[in-house]
Amino acid sequence: MKPSRLVPLIIVLTLVAAACGGTSSTTTTEGSSGTAGSMGPVDLLGAGASFPAPIYQEWIGAYQSVEPSVSINYQSIGSGGGVEQFIGQQTDFGASDAFLKDDEIAAAQTARGCDPIHIPTVFGAVAVAYNVEGLDSLILSGPTLADIFLGTITNWNDPAIAALNPDVTMPDEDIIVAHRSDGSGTTSIFTTYLSSVSDAWKNGPGAGKQVEWPAPNSVGGEKNDGVTAQIQQNPGAVGYIELSYAMENNIPVAKMINDDGNAIEPTLESTAAAADGITIPDDLRFNILNVGGEGYPIAGATWLLSWTCGYDQDMADALKAWITWDLQNGDDLARELLYSPLPDSLQEKALAKVDLINSEG
């Protein structure tokens, strides 16, 4: 079979690309026999978040035909590792599902002598998926969801859930709470949301990539696949997963009541609507909270990280060109993979940040 014979080849090519990226990323690659294209050959090495890895790989692949002389290697090692390698100057760009915290920015400034730049790329929605036999429609509010995950609501026939779903008979069944067992940007988005709607959650487990899960009937799964499996295998389970996993696996998801009191189903449109309605600070470090209108309330952005200084001009030009291409031409690819592209207002702000790459030389 052809595909199976291709796999080792791809692995080898990736390794070769990785080796090239690792060595030549710190040195200028000028004057070598150039392939066609407007720039000299440039290798870019990036690493970080696994959530946007599929779309980054897709963008990199598509950009190859636009600018064959630029080869980009993105390693999906997780946001934590991505930030560490970015601050440690081991990569040309980083990627993270969580924006850099103040102490990380301070460490970055000390390490490189200039500012790191946050460039949001796509949004993702976190769906509340459930597995209750005979239940194919469910509406939850933020506080109710927090109580379920706190373990204060333990049965599906709880009056708080029943009140939100007057047309449905809720079964007498124990709730099993499924969560990520690994550290994850998805968990960060979900717990940031819960903290914003429930004081008990904010003062208890709080927000983060990894928190204490207080519900007694809780179970963890590794990555989105693991949580998806936990939800599918446990009758009565409810858990949070990236929207694309819920859609691919055909798991029913809850409609969430947003700030305007509308029950919104998670879709690409409602995620985009959520991202459109929020106020965004100048450094583009933001959480998507207090979503109203037609927006789905549990959503988050993912960022590429770059620097205002320290690149060779060739490399800076290549990086800027690639990210600009992604933001301007990558929307359809993103939607195909169930990521929500940036709304126009934010895209402009993101492109303005791209211009800052290497602006201090």
Partner: protein
């Protein structure tokens, strides 16, 4: 005399070669100790800030709430839930695997015809060659939901009503699920060693037992089993060592919750599991704590191994004495 002289002369001629050889062997031996010491020391140094911050609560608390700082320790790191997870799943694995392994070994060495014994041995030992991630996947997708889940339902419905640690509600992936699959993984090791020990039972003693009118069962009970006991204990400890350190399969099946569950049918996490699962997204202080868990796992493994040697030595002595009398 002349021969003896020749020999001693040749021995003297090889003296330097012998010394060199001994030196190389000594270095090889020492390198193992050096690597071990280097690992223990460097990991302990890296984890030290966490040990200092937590004190004994690192092993007595079950609150694991990682912080995100780069320099200080801001989170809470209590690894008790993971220690309990590792020990409980390992014990479940041994409780299932040891009787099974001893039974299979007895059958292969004493009861089965050669035509059955050889393929059976080969098949079980093949289990050892299956990568643990495959065991994990198999458990995750097939064995636990379709085979174990009905058994768990049955147990919770019957015994669960009065034995607290067997109560519901069931979470499909849990301590018990991880323990059972772990049992399959340690089975070949325990079986192989036990079979070897039993195969070495002296023919004369077996014949003597039969000569005294023993049935086949009495012969196994009074000749094979007592002789094999130290070997079985040693094999068990070998299996325990494997079970304690098993990472991926357990992490996939133990239910990934950071709690100490009140029932075997709920989720938890193991020491190796928490390291493997959370390392990637861990902030620097969290990494230190995970390295600390690694040190702890190392210490527990050493304690278990020492206990094992002690048990083997004591029971081995006991058997020898009994046989002398």
């Amino acid at each position: 005399m002349a021969v003896a002289g020749d020999l001693s002369g040749r021995r003297r001629g090889r003296l330097s070669a012998d010394t060199t050889f001994r030196l190389i062997l000594g270095l090889a031996g020492a390198s193992v100790l050096l690597i071990l010491a280097a690992m223990l020391i460097s990991t302990t140094i890296q984890a030290w800030p966490v040990f200092q911050h937590e004190g004994w609560s690192f092993v007595t608390s079950s609150v694991w709430d990682p912080g995100t700082s780069r320099a200080e320790i801001t989170g809470e790191y209590g690894a008790l839930a993971f220690i309990v997870g590792t020990l409980t799943t390992s014990v479940i694995a041994l409780v299932i695997a040891v009787p099974l392994a001893v039974g299979v070994a007895l059958y292969i060495t004493q009861a089965a015809s050669r035509r059955v014994a050889a393929p059976l041995t080969y098949t079980i030992e093949m289990l050892a060659a299956v990568p643990s991630v495959v065991f994990g996947l198999w458990g995750l997708l097939f064995f636990v939901p379709t085979v174990l889940r009905p058994i768990m339902n049955l147990v919770v419905g019957t015994l669960g009503s009065f034995i607290p640690f067997l109560g519901g509600p069931i979470v499909t992936y849990n301590y018990f699920a991880a323990g059972v699959v772990l049992a399959f993984m340690v089975l070949p090791i325990i079986m192989a060693v036990t079979r070897e020990v039993m195969a070495n039972t002296p023919e004369a003693e077996i014949s003597a037992a039969y000569g005294l009118g023993a049935t086949r069962w009495e012969m196994m009970r009074h000749v094979v089993l007592p002789r094999a006991r130290p070997g079985i204990i040693g094999a068990t400890m070998l299996g325990l060592g494997r079970a304690l350190g098993e990472t991926i399969a357990v992490a996939m099946l133990i239910g990934g919750s950071q709690q100490i569950p009140s029932s075997l049918f709920r989720g938890g996490q193991s020491m190796a599991g928490i390291i493997a699962v959370t390392f990637q997204e861990a902030a620097p202080e969290n990494v230190k704590a995970l390295i600390g868990v690694g040190v702890l796992l190392f210490v527990i493994t050493v304690i278990v191994n020492m206990a094992a040697r002690l048990i083997v030595w004591m029971t081995g002595g006991h058997v020898a004495k009994e046989q002398n009398l």
